[in-house]
Amino acid sequence: MLQIRHVSKRFDELAALAGIDLAVDRGEIVGIVGTSGCGKSTLLRIVGGLEAPSSGSVVLDGVPVIGPRPEVGLVFQEPRLMPWLSVRANVEFALARRPREQRRAMAEAALARVGLGSFAEALPQQLSGGMAQRAAIARALVARPQVLLLDEPFSALDAFTRFSLQDHLLDIWRADQPTMLFVTHDIEEALVLSDRVVVMRAKPGRIHAQYRIDLPRPRRRTEAQLQMWKERILEDLDLARKGGGAEPEFAI
């Protein structure tokens, strides 16, 4: 179980996060949405051990998180692959301490799972954006982390690639059931994927509302209930247009 206990973060005078409390069950998928500057990425970086909170703590299975650790995998908005390493070597990069044979086998299995088995020897620049991001997911998953953190993982991709990668992520989740905490700008993405959607608001960054999405997966993006939740979240974020009319597009 992942516990975020009263985490605050200040950058000089700016309160990026003010008293965040959040408990995530093992295997739960939690999507965090919010406008720019609400501190959602900072929160994810703190959970990943990349930044220290100004106060409060993050505890994973009773152990405080004070730095990056192998049980936690991270996927960023950009693939961040080492351009000089083959795709397979990039995935193996996450397995430094294991024997060579095992590294190779695990990397190949992880690449096969994201559908990149035949691209193992390619260099990252030969991949499309969606393929590169899948390679990054394979790297984050290859060590079988207990927790997977994703920071706007699909926001740089076109809509079709995004949909297919969302489905892909769910397939992967079904196999290993890692706890997933992901940040997104895309409310629909959060609703389609998550067990729970956390809405954050800025100044200072805090949790404004939480919704449990108790619909079976896979979910259709057009499902009426999802639209209802979407309305409410947009209202939470002061983005719903009063008096009907076209629904405002919620984007970056």
Binding site: G48, L50, M82, W84, A96
Partner: protein, 279 residues
């Protein structure tokens, strides 16, 4: 495909198109001197230059001149590169060392390096030590600057990925910083080698009795322009050769950066009309 088309294609593909202009100029030059339009005693024709080279070779002098120059370049380049790599790595990696060293080194860089010559001769004598030192100074700066910049410019995001996966210290340097900075480093090495060739001429101007630079001066003093041109030619050949060798040796490490260029070349190839005819 016609023979002409085949030749055109070969020329374009092999980069042999770059040979056309020099060959035309060479022929023009030969004709100018041969028919007495240009004064032969000032501008000897290519054939005379070739003969001068042949004579030097037959007299058993040529290789000695080439060898000593090569040794000076190699030694100076090696020493300069060594110092530059150590200092560049320090200043690139640590802001504290950068603040400590870099201002002084930048100040030294603004001194035209030839200005050191009298001092080096005074300190190290007229023989090899002063020459090699001057060449080392010449090779130092491109390597130093590129090493420092190469390390500084390593993508912070990639370093973060390495940190997430537990890489620290030597592992971080070996797996991320070093490979990421290698293309910049190779650029620096090639620049340094180029300057080493430039500085060997200056070094051999200051009282050498052997070497390609000596051939230049000797040709001037004894009024033999064919010798001067022959020496220039040898500088060009060995300078280019050493650069090609360096580029080949480093290709393995920077291949990932070149692939973009290769893709561009392929595109250019596809647009080649000669290619379209064959398809």
């Amino acid at each position: 495909m016609t023979l002409a088309a085949r030749a055109t294609r070969l020329v374009r593909k092999g980069g042999a198109v770059g040979l056309v202009l020099p060959l035309v100029l060479l022929a023009l030059w030969e004709a100018l001197s041969r028919f007495g339009i240009a004064p032969r005693n000032l501008l000897p024709p290519p054939s005379a230059v070739a003969k001068a080279l042949g004579d030097l070779w037959l007299a058993g002098e040529l290789w000695g001149h080439v060898e000593i120059t090569l040794v000076r370049v190699a030694l100076g380049f090696l020493l300069g590169t060594l110092a530059a790599t150590v200092l560049g790595a320090l200043t690139g990696y640590s802001p504290l060392w950068r603040r400590f060293f870099d201002p002084s080194l930048q100040a030294l860089r603004s001194i035209p390096s030839i200005a050191w010559v009298p001092l080096f001769v005074l300190w190290l004598g007229i023989f090899e030590a002063s020459k090699v030192t001057l060449i080392a100074v010449g090779a130092f700066f491109p390597v130093y600057l590129n090493t420092m910049a190469g390390i500084q410019q390593v993508d912070r995001k990639l370093v973060e990925v390495a940190r997430i996966h537990g890489y620290r210290g030597a592992a971080l340097v070996g797996r991320v910083l070093l490979p990421a900075m290698l293309p910049a480093y190779v650029t620096g090495l090639r620049g340094g080698l180029g300057l080493a060739w430039m500085f060997v001429v200056a070094a051999e101007f200051m009282g050498a009795s052997e070497g390609l630079g000596f051939l230049l001066i000797d040709g001037q003093q004894t009024g033999r322009p064919a010798h001067i041109i022959a020496a220039i030619l040898l500088f060009a050949i060995f300078g280019k050769l050493s650069d090609v060798l360096l580029a080949l040796a480093s290709r393995r490490f920077v291949a990932w950066q070149d692939s973009f260029e290769k893709a561009e070349e392929k595109k250019a190839d596809a647009a080649d009309p000669a290619r379209l005819q064959t398809v």
